[in-house]
Amino acid sequence: MQKDLSILIGGEAGQGTRLAGNLIANLFNKLGYFVYVYEDYQSLIRGGHNFSEIRVAGEQREARKKEIDVLIAFDKNTIFLRQKRLKKDGLLIFNADRIEQKKGIGIFGDKIIKEEGGIPQMINTVFISALAKALGISFEILESVLKEKIKRGIDLNLKIAKRVYETLETKTKVAKIRPLTNSLLLTGNEACALGMIRAGLEFYFAYPMTPATSILNFLAQKEEELKVKTFQPESEIAVINMAIGSAFAGKKSAVGSSGGGFALMVEALSLAAQTETPILIVESQRAGPSTGMPTYNLQGDLDFVLGAGHGDVTKFVLQAGNAQDALFLGNLGLNLAWRYQTPVILLLDKDVSENTFSVDSKIFKSLKIEKPKLFFGKNYQRYKITKDGISPLAFPGSDFIVKANSYEHDESGITTDDEKIVQKMQEKRKRKFESMEKEVEKLGGIEVFGKKSAKVAIFPLGISKGVAIELAKEFNFKVIFPWILKPFPEKKVKEELKGVKKVFTLEMNATGQLANYLKRFGILAKPILKYTGRPFFIDELREKFKKYEISN
């Protein structure tokens, strides 16, 4: 079998397809494959149609393929809806107790579970065992994954797995690959949470909103282990104002939400800028406008996030395209917030947040906790005028009096409307933004993939990074991924654009917001857009690019 497999597993909400998908992902992780899991689910708790699409490959492949190699159906609806995507010689595995179907591997899952005295959730074990056998994966590997992932009733699960494994035949063999070592499976939200933890996060405040909620849940469930405290206040407005309070009192704090919740936070974003309070805001986009589609992705918040904040607001805007980015940027984001005493927005999207990716665990070693610039001496002034615009920090409860002010203020924090002082303060914050711009130059702020001398360049947004990289390989293009969006790494980007004749953006929104943003820097890009809530398939882009007759 080939080294690049797509496995789709579907059923009703509540049947456990997500867990089954996770088990499959872990099975292939154990084999050393790169893994990418796309989660497609509806905003309902029982019924409907959910599926996980697991792509496993010998190299990093973070995009969806239209054609799937294996279809695992918990219910009839999955076959009805998804069979058309199964390739001709693909493998169909289904629950024969619920589906009448001639072709494929039917397992009487319910019957087996009943006979063994199991519970309905063990259907996951039935399917993963069937898949392992069909692909010739050894029982020992299957056993070790089940033991790692299933805590309750493991003996019975293994018994069921064994029975299924022994009754079926091997259809094909998984391909040999150069196995990855030290690879972790993380969702973008988990990675982001861990990145923040590695920067010394002490408080995380959030109000539930898909697709950011799982950051809160993940941290809340691991409070002791990760030495962090989480709190869910009455609203997103309370969320950010509390976080600003805790940061003012010296604790590294972050908040997270989706577009709607972020909208409620924006007044306080400006407060953080004016009071120079460090705060990391994770904004995980979902389809809008308004309530939109909670469980589907659109990257329509870019304009809003870049422009958010009344007044001349200094801020960083970062974006992640996969879990590895989210890990690195969750860490860097919190550190930057404290280094520059400024709000930092980390922009994710539903697919980056909730999909699962292979992450090289070596990256953890590069993550660090930075110490902020603290004040030592006498006569503390919170807003001391400095060359780089950064005034040393002190916290209430120390020997110094600390006054933070949402009004325009003098160096000691007292309210003012004096022309000279106002000008000085505006200029101090402007110098801080210039320091931030220099920081971006130092950091680079972009990643480049593909052919160096390519004449075509693609700027992907968020989750489209994976598909862009894959496309670039096929077409010999170049991918420029600006992981810092503000201050924009203009110099670096323009260097990369030397010799490039045609520029595209890949965006999941209806108006081409990234292309519009690039225009501001004199970069003319043709936006390639998809706005159905689902990320690009590599196949549809391949067709599109062929049609454009773009060649290098």
Partner: protein, 264 residues
């Protein structure tokens, strides 16, 4: 320690806010003598005439957003539970814009103190009606008189779970100082409404003087007694206006519960 800054005071001459500024400093002077380290105090203000107190006190402080200081205050208290956290807020500030935070802080019994400068109008924006202005209030946005009735904030906060509910009046300085001190000393959420007439736009000085009386022999722990007295003046009727502590009980604070090691 000198509590006042050199900042120029910009309240209207004769404003009752001067009395709050003075009473707070006097209360703090006594508290410091009793062992309170003033450097472990943080106060916050919202936006409105009350908020100007930020500039006049040389203490740790945060000039927060309109209506949001109570949320910011709880963040500070969580981050450093050793700090005494006090919010000066206005009636428009915390009964209109930020009422959710007031209700939830009371519900949680967060260990913060809330002093409401209630002048029954938005004064700094040249007088508009607030949640506690009387029906028919003629402000700049309601020239024919507002059509809404006020609510009784004490009843709201009491129902939400406040463990300290009190009212005072700037016209009784000793009482004002005493209530400020009592509120600061209370462990848990302390709500103190300060009737603070706006001498420029809505001068209720005489109205209050004629009606205010001091609660005596109040059973602090009786819900029934508290409710009865809280309802005596509902911001609508023309009855007597009790001042003093209506309700005061001991209960674990939000922060104590929050940091309690898990049982499992």
């Amino acid at each position: 320690m000198k509590y006042q800054t050199d900042a120029k005071i910009t309240w209207c001459p004769g404003c009752s806010n001067f009395l709050i500024l003075r009473a707070f400093q006097d209360a703090l002077f006594e508290l410091e003598k009793e062992g309170q380290n003033p450097k472990e105090i943080v106060f916050l203000t919202g936006i409105g005439c009350h908020g100007k107190i930020f500039d006049y006190l040389n203490l740790n402080s945060f000039y927060a957003l309109h209506g949001r200081s109570i949320a910011t205050a709880q963040g500070i208290k969580l981050a450093n539970p050793k700090l005494k956290v006090i919010c000066f807020v206005g009636d428009g500030d915390c009964y209109n814009e930020g009422i959710e935070h007031l209700i939830f802080a009371a519900k949680r019994n967060s260990d913060i103190k809330v002093f409401v400068h209630n002048n029954r109008n938005f004064a700094l924006t040249v007088s508009q009606f607030t949640a506690v202005s009387p029906k028919g209030f003629k402000g700049s946005s309601t020239p024919k008189g507002s059509v809404e009735e006020p609510f009784n904030p004490l009843e709201l906060v009491f129902s939400a779970g406040a463990t300290f509910v009190a009212r005072t009046f700037t016209g009784n300085f000793e009482h004002l100082k005493k209530m400020i001190k009592e509120a600061i000393l209370h462990e848990g959420f302390a709500f103190l409404e300060i009737l603070q007439p706006c001498i420029t736009f809505f001068d209720l000085t005489n109205f209050f003087k004629e009606r205010v009386y001091t609660l005596e022999n109040q059973d602090f722990e009786s819900k029934e007694k508290a409710q009865e007295k809280i309802r005596e003046w509902d911001y609508k009727n023309d009855g007597k206006i009790p001042i003093g502590i209506f309700y005061k009980i001991k209960k674990p604070t939000f922060e104590q519960e929050f940091f309690k090691p898990s049982q499992s």
